[in-house]
Symmetry: C2
Subunit: 454 residues, 2 copies
């Protein structure tokens, strides 16, 4: 019902904006299109059943460039290639260097070269440089459109320069001060410039203690810096502190989401590449390997049960109760694991608190184990009619919850030490531990007390 309602609303909106574009005079369109966010138009176009080219042909080049910028990397070229060769060139000249690099990164070498040939020399150089950086580094995220000035300039000169340059820069709100070798010396904000008198020299108002990131920094680390400092933009420099580009906050929200989705997927046993609308074949490729690993670990755990088939054949109730011991261990282990994996991702686990957290997890494991052990012990005793049965399952539960706390803590921490993503497969490891040890404690204790249990 809700979904249907949403769909109907979407159709109304659709009529609203696309209809406008189709009926505006060229003058109205020129005036009004600025106020329509490309994301909204893209959303409507996706639902539009008519000829999309009729809409696109009415839009100015710079607006198409913005729309391409908003698309997923793999969809960018599809939109660009809808246009004639002449128009394609015009749109390319309006595009930001980082969007172009993202677009080209998805294409084959020959098509890349064809598109680069359409750029002017400066743009081609910038884009070719951006293509050399890995996708998931600061270099892969940055745009090269920033405003740079010299420290000797006055506020008045800067404002005049800004009037020329602001329209083409990614963000005009921070202006970077470079020396003659393009080394980053400082930054002034447009706020500082607006409140300063015309004759003031930039060198006197610029901030010199400026955070920059190296081109090869991992995007996740860049994301954490944005989070920590709340900056709107961070400059990117090479090994000689020469300024290469800027990363803006809007690029980072996507990165943080991507990294979190990766963690959630890994914790849930999905490969990071899978998407909700992946094909069944891709989904199987993403998941079957995990399930096969799980099958092997499940078989290992089962083989522990196999060792005790003699005991089980004497006391069949063991088969009924054993999944409870392993299941609760798995759940408790996953709780600890979740906390630690998220803590590592958010950088909350540090030298000062690791030991404290480990001790806390063990205490929690013991206490929760005692609570669950006593409850299940009483239930099992009433069910089977033997006090010793209750003692066996209760003790196994306590022991397994201590294993759960330890595995939930150490598995991600050790993976991290080896520079493996702590979310990767940690769930499989933890439940393997709790399954094997759970069966072992419960069936082992039962074997020890087998005479009293029969």
């Amino acid at each position: 019902m809700e979904l249907l309602q949403e769909m109907l609303e979407k159709n109304e909106e659709q009529l609203e904006i696309i209809q406008k574009i189709l009926t505006w005079t060229p003058e109205e369109l020129h005036e009004e299109i600025e106020d329509i966010h490309p994301v909204d138009l893209l959303e409507e176009l996706e639902h539009y059943e008519g000829e999309k080219k009729d809409i696109l042909n009415r839009l100015p080049d710079y607006y198409i460039a913005l729309m391409i910028g908003e698309l997923e990397d793999e969809d960018k070229y599809e939109l660009l290639s809808l246009f004639s060769k002449v128009r394609e060139e015009k749109i390319i000249s309006e595009m930001a260097s980082d969007d172009l690099a993202d677009l080209l990164g998805e294409l084959e070498d020959s098509v890349q070269k064809e598109i680069i040939a359409k750029m002017d020399w400066e743009q081609a150089e910038e884009v070719k440089e951006l293509l050399t950086y890995e996708d998931d580094t600061a270099g892969g995220l940055m745009a090269t459109e920033f405003i740079a000035i010299q420290e000797g300039m006055t506020v008045k000169e800067t404002i005049d320069y800004l009037r020329k340059e602001a329209p083409s820069s990614e963000t005009p709100y921070y202006i970077y001060v470079l020396d003659e070798r393009e080394v980053l010396k400082g930054v002034v904000s447009l706020r500082d410039i607006i409140v300063s008198d015309d004759e003031i020299v930039i060198g006197d108002i610029m901030s010199e203690n400026i955070l920059s990131v190296p081109v090869d920094m991992d995007q996740e680390e860049v994301g954490r810096l944005f989070e920590k400092y709340g900056y709107m933009v961070i400059p990117v420099v090479d090994e000689d502190n020469v300024m290469c580009g800027i990363i803006t906050f809007d690029d980072i929200i996507g990165v943080l989401n991507e990294e979190t989705t990766e963690d959630i997927y890994l914790l849930g046993g999905l490969s990071e590449g899978e998407e909700i609308d992946s094909s069944p074949l891709d989904a199987i490729k993403s998941r079957l390997p995990w399930l096969l690993v799980n099958l092997v670990t499940a078989a290992m755990a089962a083989s522990v049960v196999g060792l005790f088939e003699g005991t089980i054949s004497k006391i069949v109730a063991l088969a009924t109760f054993m999944p409870i011991v392993t299941g609760m261990g798995g759940n408790a282990g996953t709780q600890t694991l979740t906390l630690i994996v998220r803590g590592i991702a958010l950088d909350e686990l540090n030298d000062k608190n690791t030991k404290k957290i480990l001790i806390k997890e063990l205490v929690v494991g013991v206490v929760n184990g005692l609570c669950l052990g006593i409850i299940i012990g009483i239930v099992a005793q009433l069910w089977v009619g033997k006090a010793i049965f209750g003692f066996v399952i209760g003790t196994a539960m306590v022991l397994n919850l201590i294993v759960a706390a330890s595995a939930g803590y150490f598995v991600p921490v050790i993976l991290k030490k080896f520079n493996v993503d702590p979310a990767l497969a940690s769930g499989v490891f933890v439940t393997t531990f709790t399954d094997i040890m759970g069966f072992f404690f419960f069936l082992g204790l039962a074997t020890v007390f087998v005479e009293q249990l029969i």
Copy 2:
């Protein structure tokens, strides 16, 4: 090793910045402190073993106000209360309204009133209004320090006004155009103003199609809008479109993280309120209820096994193999569940693709089920020495993976329909389904074929 290294680095840095503050002359400090990010100083203070007040007393009021703004809400008052009553008043007057509201929100009514009494009339009114909004709504996030102008003003007049107002506003980069009733009419960016001639009238360059959010919008929804449009700031309005405040991107990164942590925690069986450094008691309160729910569901699943004790006593190998069927069902169900929960959180599940995704999940379930079923069937057959045993476990595996795909899909979707967070307890539900049905399929089929199996 790595942690130790980090610790040593931290100590070096500590000497570096705190030492500077202790040795600078008041003039140097006044000049240089602007370039030190409050977050960095807070981090050092946390590690500083000496008397913290010696450092704090050297810092200007506005800088203390910034530091308080960067702290977690529950720690804000602790820092403020370190100062004398006179100084406290000065620091309060430098604080942003949203930071003050966050600080007050954590305190008891009597202390709240005491602090509000120290504010000037205007600030007190603003803060009192902010306190009326729920924490997790647009009103709870917004700051009231924005720059508002009338549409009749010229660019020159606006710049003059900005020179006065910019220092006290949260962000001077977007300037809001209000009518005499303070209704939001449009927005101009500082970029537009810089590139326009002095005599231009604001009404001619302002953008009228402006996205605003109502004060009571849920913060998660506000976060998704920031993500979608990449805006730096979004204005907040009341039901009459009167402008109340602004939300900036840096507030949102925290919100998005908070919401994701909540989802990850719920998926992992932790309560949203738990933190990595919670006390053992809080951790037990967060987790034990989940484990008790799990204990009940595990007992339900175990009671299914109990129904078949007769069969198990005849074929003990069933006890060995049954955890494999339920375990794999749980893993496959968690995979689907993870994908759907994240898809709902990122708003990727819509009217157009729900059916397609359900069909995909079922296809994946069948194919993965067949692969796993055939493998485990062959292994079981070799182990037990009976082809029919392989057939029974293989068939149970295929059926259970179809249950897993269905439960992984429908549990979060149905929770969402009832406006419950789809991450909440969905893991418990899904594994309960796969456990119960897994035992039922495997032991039930074994009972049907019991004569051939013995």
